[in-house]
Every structure is written in C-alpha cells, then in structure tokens.
C-alpha cells in the first residue's frame, strides 16, 4: 500500500530513450512519466517491444550504447540519478536500487560459490567484516526461504534448482537493503507452482522492509496479484496507469481493454477472447499521433494527428483522446 503523504521514492519524468542506428534514430521510450511511492509495488505490463525492460534499464543507468537517455529525468528520493557519472551510479546500483532479473542462472556467476557472491556484495555496500558479512548472508538466505542456509551457502549456483536460484538472486538484491527494487520478469523462467512461491516471497519481503518494487512482466496474472498500481505500456509510452483493481477490472484505454479481454482466465465464460487486430508497431514505424490508432476501433481524426497526453480520470491517468472532456483544448501534462 502506498504510504501516506510522503514524497515518491522514484519519480520518472518525460523519460526518453533513443537508439541511434544506421537506419535512423529509434525511440524505445517516448516521454514516459510515473511515480513509485515508498513501499509500493508498481507493475509494468505490456507486450514484447512495449519498452518495459528498457524502462528498468534506463532507471538503473544500464542502457548500452547505441542506446542513450535522450531526455527527461529520473529522481530517486528526490535526487536526480539519470545524469550521475558512472562511478557514482555504480554506488546507487545495488546499494540503493536492487535488481532481480528473469534468468537466475545468468545473474549468478557459475564459477563462484553463492557465499562468495553474497559476501562480496555485502562487503562492497556495507562496512561489515568478512565474518559479519557471512552471518548476514546466512540470515538473508534464511529469510528468502532456503532450507539449511548455513550448509547451502557454500554451494555453487548449479547445485540449486530454478526456484532456489531465484531466491538466491532475491537475497543478492536485498544485500544492501535497497530502497527500491527493479524486478524484471522475475518469475517468467519458473514453473507455475514455484512462481507463486517467488511472488509471495517478493510481496512479503517488501511489506516487511517497506521496499518499493517496480515489477516488470508480461503476465497480467502476476501483476493482478502482486501490484498495488499498474502501468500499461504500449510502443514506448504509458497508455494507462492506476490502481491495479481499476485497471484490471475496468480498463479505460482501448489498448488496456483489449489486453485484459485477450487474457484467458480461470474464472468466468470461455467464449471467444477479445481480439486486437494487428500487432505492436515496430520502433522504426510508430504511427503518427496516438501509437495505438491503427489498431483502435474507436480512433477518430485527432488520434491520427495528435499524440494524447495523460489525462487524470479518477485515480488513474489515461493517455487517450476519448477521455479528454474539453475536446480540442490543450491538456496540461
């Protein structure tokens, strides 16, 4: 739950990320803005190519050339972090922002015991000595639900199963007690029965520690259960952002509506699924105006020429001209 009247832990304003290629500049993120409150889980959903992962990478400053942040700002607890020099950014990364990636096998070094990886991370970010760091690593492994941590800590990553490895990665992300965690598809590589365990774990840890999480996933089910608020992304823009209950049950943006209707559910009717015609545009051919207009059944002239800015509708923000009550007038962003 968002804590009351405190400044957001993370604030992203008009963030734009571009990739310069031989065939022109591709805009992977186009002026996206959102806030994450302290202790809140913000879900970021969208289909492949919507810009979910790029958003995560941009926040932690891991956009590789030829990609670059072309505009906007990212603030962590009020301080700008998007323009920090690499040295300073490295201190933020891991220490203040933790990361959990999709494939636990690639985020752990296969040649080092997990004790070495955990202790190294702890010692880099805190001033504990080796013994204290080891004790802390064991405590962390215990906290993420690894049985017999004092024995398992000296194992290599390959000796763990997929679910256990992801628990180790979560422990690694928690080492320095970050204020904010970016979890990029943390459960996608796992089987459903294990997936539920990992989601429950992330949720509990965040509630207990008050850590805010940005949960990037394409699985609406995971978002529906875990997140407090959700941002639906499409073609590098935020289509709709708001409390998860509202967005999942009564989406406003035509794309969000289509997306929710397209997901087969374990409850309700099994008639035809809602079908959005076409597919996500390529970055090199994002349509003019609203990026969704060629696939939208409700598109009108304005959608084809003018990009919709986020409009506040109740507790959420929707980037769609349909919700612009004062049609024709400029809406303040």
């Amino acid at each position: 739950m968002p804590s009351e009247d405190t400044a957001p832990i993370l604030s992203v304003r008009d963030l734009t990320v571009e990739f310069v290629t031989r065939r022109g500049t591709l805009r992977a993120l186009d002026r996206i803005s959102f806030d994450v409150a302290r202790g809140e889980v913000l879900g970021v959903v969208g289909e492949s190519g919507a810009g979910k992962s790029v958003t995560g990478s941009a926040i932690i400053g891991l956009i590789d050339p030829p990609g670059r942040i072309a505009g906007g700002e990212v603030r962590l607890a009020g301080e700008r972090i998007d323009n920090l020099p690499p040295e300073a950014m490295r201190k933020v990364r891991g220490k203040r922002i933790g990361m959990i990636f999709q494939d636990p096998l690639t985020s752990l070094n296969p040649l080092y015991r997990i004790s070495e990886q955990l202790i190294e991370t702890i010692r880099v970010h805190t001033d504990l000595d080796a013994g204290q760091a080891r004790a802390r690593a064991i405590a962390l492994l215990d906290e993420v639900g690894i049985p017999a941590p004092e024995k398992r800590i000296d194992s290599y990553p390959h000796e763990f199963s997929g679910g256990m490895r992801q628990r180790v990665v979560i422990a690694l992300a928690l080492c320095a007690e970050p204020e904010f965690i970016i979890a990029d598809e943390p459960t996608t590589a796992l089987d459903v029965s294990v997936q539920a365990q990992i989601i429950a774990l992330i949720k509990t840890l965040c509630r207990e520690r008050g850590t805010a999480v940005m949960l990037v996933t394409h699985d609406m089910g995971v978002i529906a259960e875990t997140a407090d608020r959700v941002a639906v992304m499409y073609a590098g823009r935020v289509a709709e952002i708001g409390p998860v209950r509202d967005v999942v049950k009564q989406p406003l943006h035509p794309y969000a509506k289509g997306l929710m209707g397209a997901i087969p559910s374990l409850e309700g009717e099994t008639s035809r699924l809602v079908q959005i015609p076409g597919s996500m545009p390529r970055l090199s051919a994002i349509p003019q105006g609203c990026a969704f207009n060629p696939r939208c059944a409700q598109a009108f002239d304005r959608c084809r020429t003018e990009r919709p800015e986020p409009i506040a509708v109740g507790s959420r923000q929707v980037a769609c001209h349909l919700y612009d009550t004062q049609a024709g007038s400029e809406v303040a962003a």
Partner: protein
C-alpha cells in the same frame, strides 16, 4: 468416456524411457550405473473426434514426449497409440499408417524454428500437398496455398515472402496453414501460443477454435498454461512426472479439482480474476525425474500424504490417480 462414438485416438499404457547414462568409459572408470529417465510412465487416454483434449503439466512432466509419441515422431518404449483403428507403431500396419499420416499434423511451439527460413511461405505450405501428391498441377497448388493463407487470416500474396518477414503470430498462422494443407483431421499442438504475446495469443486461439468449428478438427493440445487450456479444451489430462494424475471434463477440473496436485496447481496460477485475493503457495518443486520419489511421485509435496502413498503408485480410477481420493479421505467433489 463411455458413451458416444469410438474414439479417434486411443493411447494405452504409453511409456517412454530415455537412457541418460554417462558415456561407456565414464561408467567403467567411475563405476557409475546406467541411468534411465522415465519421461512418460504408463499414460492412457482417449480423444474423441471433434474434441480438444489438453495435457497440462509443469516442465518435465512428459507432456511434449506424449505428443511426439502420438504423432509418431518418437517410438514408445512400451504401450500403444491407435489412431482411427490403425496402430502408430505396429510394423504390420505400415501401409495403412502411410495413408493415416496425411490426416495427422503437428503445430510446434516456436514458429521461428518450425518454418524453414530459406523457403518461401508458398513452398512451406505446399510441402505436404506435394509430399502426399494431393493436387496435380502448379496452378492448382498455388490456388490451394492462397486459399489456405486466407483461411488463417493472411493474404494469398504472402506466399512469395520468407518467414522472417512475418511476426511471431503470423508465423504461427503459417504453421497452421501448413498443418491444414493436407486436409488433416487430427492436429497435435505443442504449446502453440507460449511464444506469443497475449493479444496475439488471443488471435491464434480464436483462429484455432474457428477452424475447429468449420473443419471439424480434433486437437491434442499441450500447454502449461491452465487458463489457456480451460479456454480451449473439452477434456483435460493433468500430468505430473510422466504420469496422468487426473483426467476430467474441461469445466469440472476447474470448479472441482480432485487430485491434490491439480488443486495445488490451480491455487498457484496467478490469474487476472484474482486481484487482491490472498493465495496459498504450494510447497516444494518438481523432484528430479531420474530418481523420482517412491510410490505416488507427488507424495513429498502432498498435503494429504499417508503411508500407502509412499509405497504404492496409485492407478487411475475414475479419472484420478490418488490413494487419498480413492480411500475417501478427501470429500469427493
């Protein structure tokens, strides 16, 4: 399973064992014993004409191995597959089987790997037509390919393009067109939508249902996604470690699951209908199939385990393989 016409596909006591031993020299030097993996261990089911029978299970449950044995891509170690009265593995039925082949097709998970990248789409789709000499004359074949492309929602002119010019969803449409090219009646779909985004998945699932209605197709549908299975299947088999633990009519599996594993799975799946609801995460992970637990392979994770489960493997009685259910220890649903 009693009433109605004779089943199109009959699978009886199907088994498949893979030899996963180390190489001979290692076995001699390290005195390592031979090791076998029972990928499929005594699976029986029927598929009626015109229905969709789904196999669900987590990775390693043997569902894809069953699919491959059903179409004859993999010889079974024991057991039989009979399609329309013709054995798929009996040498005596070779001639009849050749005729049967045309009526069976398969759609694979990865539409990037299942289409020949160097062939034009027209040639890919025409391959079964030519292989079975179904139509004579180039003009007639071209026309048939055009019809098939229209049937799956593509344009007849698309036949001159290469697979890389299409998106994932469009490629899966091409794979479906190829499967239909030989007038197949029985299509085995191995995770046909797991590589696709949700909105595209909805398009493909709707297309598959429409085609089933129009052409009277029978599907064997393999998936790990319970919501997709619920949406598509008329009957469902749940697999765990190479065995069928429950077979049920589609809807009742979800409204009244009987096997403890099915219950755990249903509890574990994140679902959009579950906003804000708390859930029970199951315990444990799938054991190593090389050394599966004794008796009922689910017993280490089962909340209803008792002595008998550790000793005897439960037979499938009345659609469920569980001692606890059979002994009446669980309220019959």
């Amino acid at each position: 399973m009693t009433a109605g016409p004779a089943p199109l596909v009959e699978v009886r006591d199907l088994k498949r064992v893979f030899d996963v031993s180390k190489p001979w020299l290692n076995r001699v030097i390290e005195r390592a014993p031979r090791q076998f993996l029972k990928a499929v261990d005594g699976v029986s089911f029927d598929i009626r004409k015109g229905e969709t029978f789904a196999l669900v299970g987590e990775s390693g449950s043997g569902k894809s191995t069953v699919a491959r044995m059903v179409v004859g891509l993999l010889p079974p170690s024991a057991g039989t597959v009979t399609i329309d009265g013709v054995s798929m593995h009996d040498a005596a039925a070779a001639e009849e089987r050749q005729r049967l082949r045309r009526r069976i097709q398969m759609i694979f998970q990865d539409p990037y790997a299942s289409l020949n990248a160097r062939w034009r789409v027209g040639r890919i789709i025409a391959e079964p037509i030519r292989a079975f000499s179904l139509i004579e004359g180039e003009a007639a074949i071209t026309e048939r390919v055009g019809d098939l492309l229209m049937l799956v929602g593509l344009h007849p002119d698309d036949r001159t393009k290469f697979p890389h010019e299409f998106s994932g969803g469009q490629r899966q449409r091409i794979a479906i067109a190829r499967a239909l090219a030989s007038d197949a009646e029985f299509i085995v779909c191995d995770e046909p939508t797991s590589a696709l985004d949700v909105s595209v998945q909805a398009q493909i699932l709707n297309l598959m249902r429409d085609l089933q209605e129009r052409l009277g197709l029978t599907y064997l549908f393999i998936s790990h996604n319970l919501a997709v299975v619920r949406h598509m299947a008329s009957r469902i088999g749940v697999m765990y470690l190479g065995r069928l633990v429950e077979i049920s009519e589609g809807k009742s599996l979800f409204s009244a699951p009987r096997h403890p594993y099915t219950r755990m799975l249903l509890d574990a799946v994140p679902d959009v209908a579950m906003v804000g609801k708390a859930r029970e995460a199951g315990k444990g992970e799938i054991p190593n199939p090389i050394s599966p637990p004794s008796g009922c392979t689910f017993h280490p994770r089962c909340p209803l385990v008792f002595d008998r489960c550790r000793l005897e493997s439960p037979p499938v009685i009345d659609g469920v393989a569980c001692h606890a259910v059979q002994a009446g220890r669980v309220a019959a649903a």
